[in-house]
Symmetry: C2
Subunit: 195 residues, 2 copies
């Protein structure tokens, strides 16, 4: 239903009708709309395989894990607005985090630095997915950028041409690679503070 009618199509009434029951019958299974949304989010995120990837270095394995979430959400883009509100209590993301934390433990020995690295990865993942699905690429945003006053936005104007050469996959992977490079960089807190 979400895929067909978008986030606004997921109403208690519509879901009940789809299930061939009265609207109020839904409240037998669900406390309120919030909980129903959570179940939908979990249904989508449940497609993410939490098992650690087999081969490759830690950076490649983290990339595989991150890409799995991107693919799962990409299969149902309409869920993106819902994930934002319901991500925190998702068991699927928790299992995903557990695996990624395990991989990170191989190279980031200090727990506090590992927390920062894990949250950094999650932040990038959340933001990049949203920019991909709700960003300027889809919608009238690109036109707005193209019509910019070149005098006021010289750098953005220059980047506009280059941006068309960078595909969505390349952009996502490239940004992730920058973050991973930073994680593999300096082991001491000095580098972190300096940078």
């Amino acid at each position: 239903m979400l895929d067909r009618d978008g986030p606004a199509g997921l109403t208690m009434r519509a879901v009940a009708q789809q299930l061939g029951m009265g609207t109020m019958s839904l409240y037998r299974y669900v406390a309120d709309r919030e909980e129903l949304e959570g179940l939908v989010v979990e249904l989508v995120l449940g497609a993410v395989d939490p098992a650690p990837p087999e081969g490759g270095g830690w950076q490649e394995r983290v990339t595989v894990m991150v890409e799995r979430v991107r693919v799962a959400v990409g299969a149902h883009p309409a869920v993106v607005p819902l994930t934002m509100t319901h991500r925190h209590r998702s068991p699927a993301i928790l299992r995903w985090s557990e695996t990624v934390a395990g991989i990170l433990a191989e190279t980031v020995t200090d727990p506090e630095r590992r927390v920062v690295a894990l949250r950094g990865l999650l932040s990038y993942l959340v933001g990049a997915i949203q920019l991909e699905h709700l960003g300027p690429l889809s919608g009238p945003g690109t036109a707005a950028i193209a019509g910019l006053d070149p005098a006021a936005f010289p750098h953005m104007r220059q980047l506009g041409g280059a941006a068309r050469q960078v595909g969505a996959d390349e952009e996502f992977r490239g940004g992730l690679a920058l973050l991973l490079a930073g994680i593999s960089g300096g082991p001491g807190p000095a580098r972190t503070r300096k940078a």
Copy 2:
């Protein structure tokens, strides 16, 4: 109104009443609710100073720029759900991007790599702000993590203790520092692809 009643409090009727006019009078100034939300988002993001910071290295100046957005949004957390839907056509973010792109041009010469770096920064910024305001820190998420089965989530359990030692500021800055370290890392595309 957003600060007082949350995102749900921003209704056409409530806004009109606050302004002392009939509900329909709003449509004299605004096409629909979407446009009104956009104006609110722009009002909050308009507080971001787009002028390039004066001193310091490029990493410190980018950090200042990123922190400015975080502070502006942090002053009105209820706007976070709205920014997600309206960020793309925001002139304020465009001006911000122009300045950051200019700073990045100092060290990232290749335009395509600069696009990736800028989008990476924006992705991290968007995700980190959301995790900060809608994440496990606020709400019952932390309790859920604390009550985890230690056998199934050994790494997360271990990180739970360390996470309490890492403040929100430190976490945000730390993750950003990782990304900046990656940007300043390898100039060639080989590193990007390898990582």
